[in-house]
């Protein structure tokens, strides 16, 4: 009886294994870096993780809807350079509102392109978004060939602010979480899980499958633009290549967080936990006196172990029930 209960709890809260891993990782990190829980260190870490956390949220929405978006990182690059370009040469007179609005529109349009290709033209999602990632990344380099730009200090200052004593990054994650909770309770939220789980059944029961799919990509484009804004606030410059490496991180993070890439299941909490886990693993490696040249290897192996974890548990269970 006990395992059965456990099993269903894990199915419903698929991020539980990741949460356990996260607790272990935090403990190890604390052991290696005693000032880990100091507010300045903690909020500094959170600031570093926030862009990827938002990108993972964007990815998880698409994946729940049964797709995948390999262009999210390129969208981040494109939005970053569009914003920095719009701010102009003088940080004093930079039209901040216009820059942010342009950035958000860019993200929406990029998401719309992906969504139309996948939902209405019925292109295969993986290769489609891979193809559009070239288009977006190329456009980003076209807009701003080399890193630079003049970002007003007010943006970087806000990013380091602690409204009501709580770091801004926590506010952002809380707001996104609230939005996610609201979305889940709407009709769109129910449709989203239905489309990702069994698109044909969803179609037969009258769910507007194509619209839902389109929306997932558009929302992902928008959230990627938010991620790009945090990148600009965090780095204070525009770099046309900054986003591309983040795509892989977003996919790995949601997988670590218990979301299946086959769709119909998963959630925002798992995505954020996955990002925290990735970040803390990296932090541990940098504090553990690992030889510099071996850090990438150790990082890769730990990520693989974390990815393999649920599968190992399942394989061992299957073996046991076979031998019994």
């Amino acid at each position: 009886m006990q395992p059965k209960l456990n099993g269903s709890a894990i199915r419903r809260q698929s991020f539980l294994p990741a949460l356990v891993l996260l607790a272990v990782a935090v403990a190890v990190n604390f052991y290696l870096q005693p000032n880990f829980f100091r507010p300045a260190v903690l909020s500094g870490n959170l600031r570093t993780y926030l862009p990827l956390a938002l990108l993972a949220v964007a990815q998880v929405i698409v994946v729940i809807g049964g797709g995948i978006d390999l262009s999210l990182g390129a969208i981040v690059s494109l939005v970053v350079v569009v914003m920095v370009k719009a701010m102009g040469d003088n940080a004093e007179t930079a039209p901040l509102g216009l820059a942010i609005a342009l950035g958000l529109v860019t993200g929406l349009v990029a998401g719309l392109v992906n969504g139309v290709c996948v939902a209405y033209l019925r292109f295969q999602p993986l290769v489609t978004t891979f193809a559009t990632s070239f288009v977006f990344a190329g456009a980003a380099i076209g807009v701003l060939p080399s890193p630079g730009g003049n970002v007003p200090a007010v943006m970087t200052d806000i990013y380091r602010a602690n409204p009501l004593g709580v770091p801004l990054s926590i506010w952002v994650i809380a707001l996104v979480g609230l939005a996610w909770w609201l979305v889940r309770s709407t009709r769109f939220g129910k449709f989203l899980f239905a489309v990702g789980g069994q698109s044909f059944s969803a179609y037969m029961t009258g769910v507007p499958v194509n619209q839902v799919r389109l929306f997932t990509y558009v929302i992902a484009g928008f959230v990627s633009a938010l991620s790009a804004i945090t990148v600009v606030m965090g780095t204070g410059t525009g770099d046309p290549l900054i986003g591309s490496p983040m795509t892989l991180g977003s996919v790995v993070a949601i997988t670590l967080g218990g979301t299946r890439l086959s769709g119909g299941q998963g959630g925002m909490i798992g995505a954020v936990i996955g990002v925290l886990l990735l970040g803390i693993i990296r932090s541990i490696i940098s504090f553990a006196n690992v030889d510099t040249w071996s850090q990438t290897l150790v990082d890769g192996i730990i990520v693989m172990i974390a990815l393999a974890g649920p599968g190992v548990i399942r394989a061992v269970r299957a073996l046991r029930s076979n031998t019994l």
Binding site: R122, F134, G138, I141, L307
Partner: protein
């Protein structure tokens, strides 16, 4: 709804409608057969070649043609394993091929260190290493049920980490003169040896896919895992073997690439990962698995290489080339990558 509705979909249960051959489907299939992807890609390649001649005199020369074949050969060898993995279906994709190319080249560079007599043993060793790494990919996908995309991406991180850890940032070694001679110098009809290596692999791939039990079983598991299992195919073994072969071919491709490049850097193989997938798609192999051919992939690789060299000839800036490359991929998808409408 066939199993090919979405590549990201894993459903081990046969769907009731899976094999219902409705008249509409049959008509559709007939129409698709007429459009032979290999032929289309070949015609496209010829058209691009002639277009290049119009844009730049000298593009249609024999020297340029051999040059294009040479560049295509490297991509073609790497894409051979990718073809097998994608045919095997079930979201199959191998994104670790680029890292394996670098690893293969780096190890050959280091271990051979300029000694002609070491070339053959080292080739055996690195092929074996590629085979083992590929098999680990396959085990992760089958036993641990990690999605292939994530498994092979994760493996990319491990391989790149291993390269850094082995070399400590120092890429030392040397290419054996005989290997360079064999791969890069004109061997016959002014063609470099790599083109013949590629043709040999092409013939071997045809034999493997069309004339061996492995090939038959590969298409079977790509079409429908459940029916394949019920007809006595050991699906997990086949999957592991397929990823292992992909690893082997990628590592071997790295050694071949070294014979030409004669030098190694950390991102040597990275530019081969995504074009290898694109070449397979362009060759008409279904991303959902179960259907495809290596001749298609070879033609696809040829088209991609021609496009790249045309864009270089036009002296487009790098960013514009990227955009055009992406748009071409999208155009390709509109021909081959369309999924069935829910209404059908």
């Amino acid at each position: 709804m066939s199993a090919g509705q979405s590549v990201m979909e894993t459903d081990p249960q046969p769907k009731p409608l899976a094999n219902a051959a409705s008249p509409a489907n049959a008509a559709n299939a007939k129409r698709r057969v007429q459009l032979n992807p290999t032929l289309v890609a070949l015609l496209l390649a010829i058209a691009l070649f002639l277009l290049g001649g119009l844009l730049q005199p000298g593009f249609t020369s024999y020297a340029q043609a051999t040059n294009i074949l040479r560049v295509t050969a490297f991509l073609g060898i790497v894409a051979a394993g990718q073809t097998l993995v994608i045919i095997s279906g079930n979201e199959g994709i191998d994104l670790s091929v680029g890292a394996l190319v670098t690893l293969g080249a780096m190890l050959t560079f280091r271990l051979v260190n300029g000694h002609n007599e070491l070339v053959l043993p080292v080739l055996v060793v690195i092929s074996f290493i590629g085979l083992v790494i590929g098999a680990v990919n396959g085990l992760g996908v089958t036993v641990l049920r990690i999605p292939p995309l994530v498994m092979t991406l994760g493996m990319t991180g491990v391989i790149q980490g291993a390269i850094l850890a082995i070399t400590q940032g120092n890429l030392t070694g040397a290419t054996a003169p005989v290997w360079n001679q064999l791969i890069a110098r004109p061997l016959l009809f002014d063609m470099p040896g790599v083109v013949f290596v590629w043709v040999l692999i092409g013939v071997a791939m045809w034999v493997v896919l069309e004339r061996t039990p492995y090939g038959k079983q590969l298409f079977a598991i790509g079409t429908n895992r459940t029916t394949a299992r019920l007809s006595g195919i050991h699906v997990p073994f086949m999957t592991v073997l397929t990823y292992a072969l992909s690893g082997l071919l990628a590592a071997f491709g790295g050694a071949v690439l070294l014979g030409y490049a004669q030098n190694v850097y950390i991102n040597l193989g990275t530019p081969y990962t995504l074009p290898s997938v694109a070449a397979v798609v362009m060759g008409g192999t279904l991303l959902a698995g179960g259907k495809g051919s290596y001749f298609g992939t070879m033609s696809g690789a040829l088209v991609l290489t021609l496009v790249t060299s045309l864009l270089t000839t036009l002296q487009l800036p790098e960013y514009a080339r990227q955009i055009v490359y992406g748009l071409i991929l999208l155009a390709l998808l509109s021909v081959y990558g369309r999924q069935r409408s829910l209404r059908q």
